[in-house]
């Protein structure tokens, strides 16, 4: 029955995509076929349909492979998720969330301050950007062992790894945001009597907030990558720790269940950022 539904959803998705491409991009004369900026007519329906299609394809692939060790079905994954003791799952998820929250807050505070300063003051830009660019290209996972040596096996090493993983990207991306601020606006504010601080507080910062939130939104996803990496290597708690155990005992459905749970947490935090961006950019 599930397989039949999966086939139906996949076929419907294929027909819908073909029809949309034809109607939106081929049949209708327009300036450019790559007109991606037009608002979708039914964004929520499209999103739900995409999720349904992804699950349908996953189901069909798992049925074809017929090996739950390689790829469990979505149903088996949901069963595995339900099989975890709830308190244990919540306890571990909360640990991961707290690690990300603390590390990401610290990285954001430092990264935004340095990024805005470098974006607005050329001498700071010249001083820190070359070093930041070099550090950005060093793979953060190479620091896993070092962070344990430096900060011990407890929370310090995990928080340090997340900070190393996202800080240099937040700095660079915030610099790029600050440098898009139009110079004539920066001149208009002092001309109307604003001090440097007032120009920043009332003009530059509100102008940059939506783009800064987008920077944080992207980097929060990266923060989850690094918390799982740190927990897989050395932790007694956290979703990464549970994933490591699942891998060790080849409990693929459980591993998939944890991946899906991480995806759900990511989706929710991303949605919160989306709301914040919409609220701070009503003017755009």
């Amino acid at each position: 029955m599930i397989t039949l539904i999966a086939w139906a959803v996949t076929t419907a998705a294929l027909i819908t995509v073909t029809h949309t491409v034809w109607v939106e991009h081929l049949a209708r004369p327009k300036i450019s076929a790559f007109f991606w900026f037009a608002p979708s007519r039914q964004p929520r329906v499209t999103a739900v349909a995409t999720f349904a299609t992804a699950f349908a394809i996953w189901h069909l692939l798992s049925i074809m492979l017929a090996n739950p060790l390689l790829l469990p079905t979505p149903a088996a994954t949901i069963q595995a998720l339900a099989s975890f003791p709830r308190m244990e799952l919540a306890h571990n998820a909360l640990h991961s969330i707290l690690r990300v929250a603390v590390a990401f807050s610290l990285a954001s505070a430092v990264g935004l301050t340095m990024g805005l300063a470098a974006g607005l003051f050329p001498w700071i830009h010249r001083a820190i950007l070359p070093l930041n660019s070099a550090l950005r290209y060093i793979p953060p996972t190479a620091f896993i062992g070092l962070t344990i040596v430096w900060f011990g096996v407890d929370e310090g090493s995990k928080i340090a790894l997340i900070i190393i993983g996202v800080l240099f990207y937040i700095i660079q991306m915030t610099v790029d945001v600050a440098r898009t601020f139009p110079r004539p606006l920066a001149e208009a504010a002092p001309n109307l009597g604003a001090t440097d601080w007032e120009t920043f507080r009332y003009i530059i910062w509100p102008y940059c907030v939506p783009a800064v939130l987008s920077v944080l939104r992207v980097n929060l996803g990266a923060a989850w990558t690094f918390v799982v990496a740190a927990e897989v290597v050395s932790a007694q708690t956290g979703l990464g720790h549970m994933m490591a155990i699942s891998q060790r005992f080849l409990l693929t459905p459980q591993l998939f269940a944890l991946l899906v749970l991480t995806g759900i947490i990511g989706f929710l935090s991303d949605a919160l950022f989306g709301i914040a961006i919409r609220r701070t950019s009503t003017w755009a």
Partner: protein, 257 residues
């Protein structure tokens, strides 16, 4: 000639990359009237206005307002440039209140003051008070720019070709508005333009500039009184005056360029 203004410059000099745009420039702006400045492209008009508004530092010389040196941007000398400088995240009401709030150290002003309300009404933007800049036309944006500048009650308003990007209908509307502001608020305005008709319609006095380095070579009093209507454009005397000015402009500016 108008009353000697409180805005003056003495021996002003500005050099960019070895070329002198303004050199030994000394002037005093007539108070409570509109002065238009016409000069060829690249003569240094915009540079002069930026120096007067303290958005650029002069290489040498001094700018004074009411005999006090001016060394930093301040709301007493406001520049309305050609480029759009409305703050995109502020509504029309907040744009106009921005300078006022800073000046009066207030964070929230819920009702427009009578003065600001009058300015918004005079400029025909009171019904747009809750719109963001992206929701305004080019002409409406320039009206808001002017209103924002006037709201801080500047001693001098410097206009650097503010209507050049607008269509003719919008330009004509805004010429009327600026003329009205000059008359009703007795506002001192230095208006840079490329259009002789625009300069003659707006100004009480027209200046011919040549350069670089920028120099004022002629000053002509505009003899059409304070209250002017669009009909002035079609009067023979106005056409005659514009022709006379054009001849002088071509003789002086043309000889230098």
């Amino acid at each position: 000639m108008g009353v000697t203004s409180s805005l003056a410059a003495s021996n002003l000099q500005k050099t960019y990359d070895g070329s002198t745009i303004i050199d030994s420039f000394t002037f005093s702006l007539p108070a409570h009237q509109i002065t238009s400045l016409l000069a060829p492209s690249g003569a240094g008009k915009s540079t002069l206005l930026r120096l007067l508004a303290c958005l650029d530092r002069p290489t040498a010389g001094q700018i004074t307002l009411r005999d006090a040196p001016v060394t930093a941007p301040q709301p007493d000398i406001i520049l309305v440039p050609q480029a759009d400088t409305l703050f995109p995240h502020l509504t029309v009401r907040d744009q106009i209140a921005f300078g006022y709030r800073l000046r009066h150290n207030k964070n929230r002003v819920t009702q427009p003051t009578a003065y600001r309300e009058r300015i918004m009404r005079e400029l025909g933007i009171i019904q747009l008070h809750d719109r963001y800049p992206r929701q305004l036309s080019g002409g409406q944006r320039q009206r808001v720019s002017l209103a924002r500048a006037l709201a801080v009650q500047p001693a001098v308003l410097l206009c650097d070709e503010p209507f050049s990007a607008l269509d003719e209908a919008a330009r004509q509307e805004l010429r009327m508005v600026v003329r009205q502001i000059g008359t009703e608020f007795r506002q001192t305005i230095l208006f840079v333009t490329h259009s002789i008709q625009e300069g003659a319609f707006l100004a009480d006095e027209m200046w011919v500039g040549v350069g670089p380095p920028l120099q004022i070579t002629s000053r002509l009093r505009v003899p059409f009184g304070s209250n002017r209507t669009e009909e002035l454009f079609y009067e023979p005397a106005f056409t005659q005056f514009c022709k006379k000015f054009r001849d002088r402009y071509q003789a002086e500016a043309g000889a230098r360029t």
